[in-house]
């Protein structure tokens, strides 16, 4: 299986502002890659570069083994779905679907065949003769996907396609996009700032910040072994607890305030002694007990107890640091309760607080 998309040393400057910096990204054939990041991180810009809607400053873009760096968008073999749907308002759904094919001078019989197939896959047959104004948000986005589908391309580009929809429709269409990917097997690049979409849809996630890919890996890998502080803090809700301290005892323990936490079982194995380290533990990797716990643990005081239905969120203070813990619902712990927190060290992450990289 070759690479479907290869981005080589891509750089993009707007005047003196550098938006994408020396970026490299390979997407395998049939892979679903999600570009995830906060707004302004360059993820949509990268997608526009892939689509050919922005001229890049330096580097190369290859799609399907062809150098398309300077090709027109329509010559790149891509289909694109936009956040605002971008349906042509004066045309019917059928007109929207056939617009690109007519530009490409595809014979009418073939156009009809492809529209019929796309309409069947997306279940929009009854809507074909309506104008976009007469469609609901979910139907419009379906048509927008259909417009990419009929072009019979290898690569689908999605630019925050679900952001304009309400929560219920969003999860429905999310599943539908996943199903579409399984059914068609196309390469898909999907931009979003929603981590749920990223975690559920992606084969691999590229977390971006400041025009640089921070980490490119499978969703669970990113969630469990974040490469740096930014990735660790960006994924997960509530976000990972960061304990500032230092490693001591030849790297076998972590000194957090007056508490010493044994690092036995940390997946990195023996860690060097570092004066500036951060121990990251996700809220669900901490247990709470009112009695002392064997193993790595620390004392804390409950501040707020939130019931979320399926589980509870405890907001605590330990050694002057705010922490959150996800626990099963079992009676309430009033504010001020003194508790012990048990840390699941094998699932924790250690960072160097200077370089912010994982140790």
């Amino acid at each position: 299986m070759g690479n479907s998309i290869e981005v080589k040393d891509l750089t993009l400057n707007f005047g003196s502002v550098s938006v994408l910096k020396n970026m490299n990204l390979d997407v395998a054939e049939g892979e679903f890659v999600v570009l995830l990041g906060p707004s302004g991180c360059g993820k949509s810009t990268l997608l526009n570069c892939l689509a050919g809607l922005l001229d890049i400053t330096d580097g190369q873009i290859w799609i399907k083994g062809k150098n398309v760096t300077w090709s027109e968008p329509s010559e790149r073999g891509i289909g694109m779905v936009f956040q605002s749907y971008a349906l042509y308002p004066q045309m019917t759904v059928r007109g929207n679907l056939s617009f690109g094919l007519k530009n490409a001078k595809v014979p009418q019989a073939e156009i009809d065949k492809r529209i019929a197939r796309a309409a069947e896959i997306l279940q929009i047959q009854p809507l074909l003769d309506r104008k976009p104004a007469a469609l609901s948000g979910g139907q419009r986005q379906r048509v927008a996907i259909g417009r990419a589908l009929v072009r019979d391309v290898d690569v689908f580009l999605f630019d925050e396609p679900l952001s304009n929809l309400d929560a219920k429709l969003r999860s429905e269409l999310r599943v539908e996009i996943k199903r579409l990917h399984n059914q068609l097997g196309n390469t898909m690049v999907y931009v979003t700032h929603d981590q749920i979409e990223a975690l559920t849809l992606a084969d691999r996630i590229a977390v971006m910040k400041g025009g640089v890919i921070q980490q490119l890996a499978a969703p669970l890998e990113i969630y469990n072994r974040p490469a740096n502080l930014f990735v660790a803090g960006f994924l997960g809700s509530p976000s990972m607890n960061f304990l500032k301290g230092k490693t001591v005892d030849g790297g076998r323990a972590f000194q957090f305030g007056s508490t010493r936490i044994d690092l036995a079982g940390y997946e990195g194995g023996a860690v060097l002694v570092r004066d500036n380290a951060i121990l990251g533990v996700r809220p669900e990797h901490i247990t709470v007990s009112t009695t002392p716990i064997a193993g790595p643990s620390m004392p804390a005081e409950v501040e707020i107890d939130e019931h979320l239905g399926a589980d509870s969120l405890l907001w605590l203070k330990a050694e002057g640091t705010n922490m959150s813990v996800r626990v099963p619902v079992e009676g309430r712990l009033p504010a001020g309760t003194k508790v012990h927190l048990g840390l699941d060290i094998p699932k924790a992450s250690l960072f160097d607080s200077k370089t912010e990289q994982r140790i």
Binding site: A51, L53, S74, M80, F82, A86, Y88, P89, F99, N103
Partner: protein, 301 residues
């Protein structure tokens, strides 16, 4: 019990009626009526005077309706009034104005709409500077450019022809029309343009198939602005053409301001109304679209 409720139901119902003659209404409608009179009186005088014969006009009473209605002044204004050596009335000026206005409007709108489209969607190096210079052009007083343009037209060999005037109108309409179209096109979502590019449409394909169908209101606005502006133009008409080619406005002036003979007020009034008829009709026919388009064009700057 049933009787009581029936009686209660049959009484007057609904919200408390408002008094028609409240102080607020008197003020409101009073003001409106005064303003209406203010605007309609001159028109009334013009229409009445134009329907009177000269003896009746001389009696004074400019507000009184004609005793004997005559359309002779209208006929004279249209086809018999003399300006200089020509005695075929305003009709000559009317057709000159038509020949000037139609191509000027069409050409200037075509160029300006493509300008605005290119400036928003196909930004090139220096496009912003280009736009700034274009807008700056609309602030230069026409008088400054009168004579340079005379020289320019002479060098081009079209001084004194209708085509020279058409060119001048097209160029002078460019800044404001380009601004108008640019602002309107900037309110069309950029993603539509991107989608069309991914769909393989080119510069003209997107212009004709995507942008044009969505921009009817702004084209109507541009058309109205240009038709009225060019039709009502006097300065360029008098400077860049010669007597046989004078547009209607210049001819109207020559009829009304002629110093020889009797002042024929009834003919002057009829001539003035004939000249104003075209912009008036344009406003009436497309007024609704005009307001909508102006509002749409004003959204983004």
């Amino acid at each position: 019990m049933a009787d009581v409720s029936m009686a209660a139901m049959s009484g007057p119902r609904g919200a408390k009626p408002k008094k028609a003659l409240s102080g607020r209404n008197i003020m409101l409608y009073g003001t409106l009526i005064v303003v209406c009179l203010y605007y309609i009186l001159p028109l009334w005088v013009m229409v009445m005077t134009s329907l009177k014969g000269m003896p009746e006009v001389r009696m004074g009473n400019i507000f009184a309706p004609p005793v004997e209605i005559t359309f002779q002044p209208w006929v004279k204004a249209w086809s018999e009034a003399c300006t200089g050596l020509n005695c075929d009335g305003l009709s000559r000026g009317f057709w000159n104005s038509v020949i000037i206005t139609v191509p000027s409007v069409i050409v200037s709108i075509i160029i300006a709409s493509v300008n605005g489209y290119a400036l928003i969607n196909w930004k090139f190096k220096g496009s912003d500077i280009f736009f700034t210079i274009l807008i700056f052009g609309s602030f230069i007083p026409y008088q400054v450019m009168l004579y340079p343009i005379v020289i320019l037209l002479r060098e081009l060999g079209i001084y004194g022809t209708l085509w020279g005037l058409v060119m001048v109108h097209t160029i002078f309409g460019m800044p404001i029309l380009t601004l108008l179209f640019r602002n309107y096109f900037s309110s069309i979502p950029e993603e539509l343009f991107k989608a069309a590019r991914v769909d393989g449409a080119g510069f003209w394909g997107i212009y004709f198939r995507i942008m044009l169908p969505m921009s009817l209101p702004i084209f109507v606005v541009a058309m109205i602005l240009q038709v009225t502006g060019i039709w009502n133009d006097f300065l360029f008409g008098v400077v860049y053409t010669k007597p046989e080619l004078y547009p209607m406005t210049v001819q109207l002036n020559n009829i009304v301001n002629s110093v020889q003979g009797v002042k024929e007020y009834n003919v002057n009034m009829a001539a003035t109304m004939l000249t104003g008829l075209v912009p008036l009709i344009v406003y009436f026919v497309s007024g609704k679209l005009f307001v909508r388009g102006i509002a749409a064009g004003a959204v983004k700057g």
